[in-house]
């Protein structure tokens, strides 16, 4: 997949992975993997970017005697997911335009 397109979609996928329940790094990767290839190292900058854009917040929870960071979506993050729905309609229009038959080609 085109790298730019993928970057944008991954941001949305990360938000989608935490939209119902707060989640942590390992689980976010596991949840996204069936749909898109995502590595541990790609997730990190996305989480940082979404955090600095106020789309998610981070908190630590003690787990098995160590700290685990959980990510919680913000209203702004939820809003981003709603915007994505609208954008997707535009994208399907573009898809139709790109893949249309060359019917007037003579």
């Amino acid at each position: 997949m085109d790298i730019q397109l993928k970057r944008g979609l991954l941001d949305v996928c990360v938000l989608a992975a935490i939209k119902n329940d707060d989640s942590y790094g390992y689980k976010i990767i596991k949840d996204i993997k069936p749909y898109m290839t995502i590595s541990e190292s790609t997730l990190y900058p996305i989480l940082r970017r979404l955090e600095s854009a106020d789309m998610l917040t981070v908190y630590s929870v003690e787990h098995n005697g160590r700290l685990r960071k959980y990510y919680r979506i913000t209203d702004k993050g939820q809003h981003r997911l709603l915007d994505f729905k609208d954008e997707w309609n535009e994208i399907t229009d573009i898809y139709r335009f790109v893949t249309r038959e060359d019917d007037k080609n003579d």
């Binding site: 730019q4 397109l5 970057r7 944008g8 979609l9 941001d11 949305v12 942590y24 790094g25 390992y26 689980k27 990767i29 590595s39 541990e40 190292s41 790609t42 990190y44 900058p45 940082r48 970017r49 600095s52 854009a53 789309m55 098995n64 160590r66 700290l67 685990r68 960071k69 981003r80 954008e87």
Partner: protein, 197 residues
């Protein structure tokens, strides 16, 4: 590679980052290793699942850039964080207060020059109008002179006056537009100064 070895290498790689940034990286990766081991991987497998050290180094570099420049991908749009306004140093404030009589009078002078140009434009409009009205008056009056020669002379002069009036009006409109544009540029430039560059 064991977790400890991996963390050691990570520490070397993040040496260029601030302490806080480096700590966040290390916490992030060690948490992933722990979680992978909890899911049943061996320590070696868990470390291997994170990819090669070269890849991680690339990502660290990239992430460092991303955090510094706040460069976001084209598809996702975020509102930029408002830049905190820079505070003026004390000496600058003192200088502004002491220099008040100088810069304030200069400001007044500049402003009066600016206003006087508008006055010139206004007077040009007034003379164009006067010429037009006067010309029309003359042209009409020409028909009441009762003498053909006089009619021609006065009518001609009247029409000439109307013509000059129209040309002057057109010229003044152009001048007004230019000056308004200049005003907009100056206002914008001043606005930028106040927004804090």
């Amino acid at each position: 590679m064991t977790k400890a070895e991996f963390i050691d290498q990570l520490k070397n790689m993040t040496a260029g980052l601030s302490g806080e940034e480096a700590d966040k990286f290390i916490e992030y990766y060690s948490e992933l290793i722990e979680d992978a081991m909890e899911e049943g991987m061996t320590e070696q497998e868990a470390v291997a699942s994170l990819g090669t050290m070269e890849d991680i180094a690339d990502y660290i570099k990239e992430n460092n850039n991303a955090v510094n420049t706040q460069s976001f991908p084209a598809v996702t749009q975020y509102a930029p964080k408002p830049q905190p306004r820079k505070k003026l140093p004390v000496w600058a404030i003192v200088l502004i207060i002491i220099g008040f009589p100088i810069w304030f009078s200069l400001l007044c002078a500049a402003f009066s020059v600016y206003i006087s140009v508008w006055a010139v434009i206004l007077s040009l409009f007034a003379s164009a109008l006067a010429m037009g009205v006067g010309g029309i008056g003359m042209a009409v009056a020409a028909f009441f002179t009762g003498d053909f020669g006089m009619l021609m002379v006065v009518l001609g002069a009247g029409l000439l006056l109307i013509g000059i009036g129209i040309l002057l009006a057109v010229g003044t409109v152009v001048l007004t537009k230019l000056y308004a544009k200049l005003t907009a540029i100056i206002v914008k430039a001043i606005g930028r100064q106040f927004k804090g560059a």
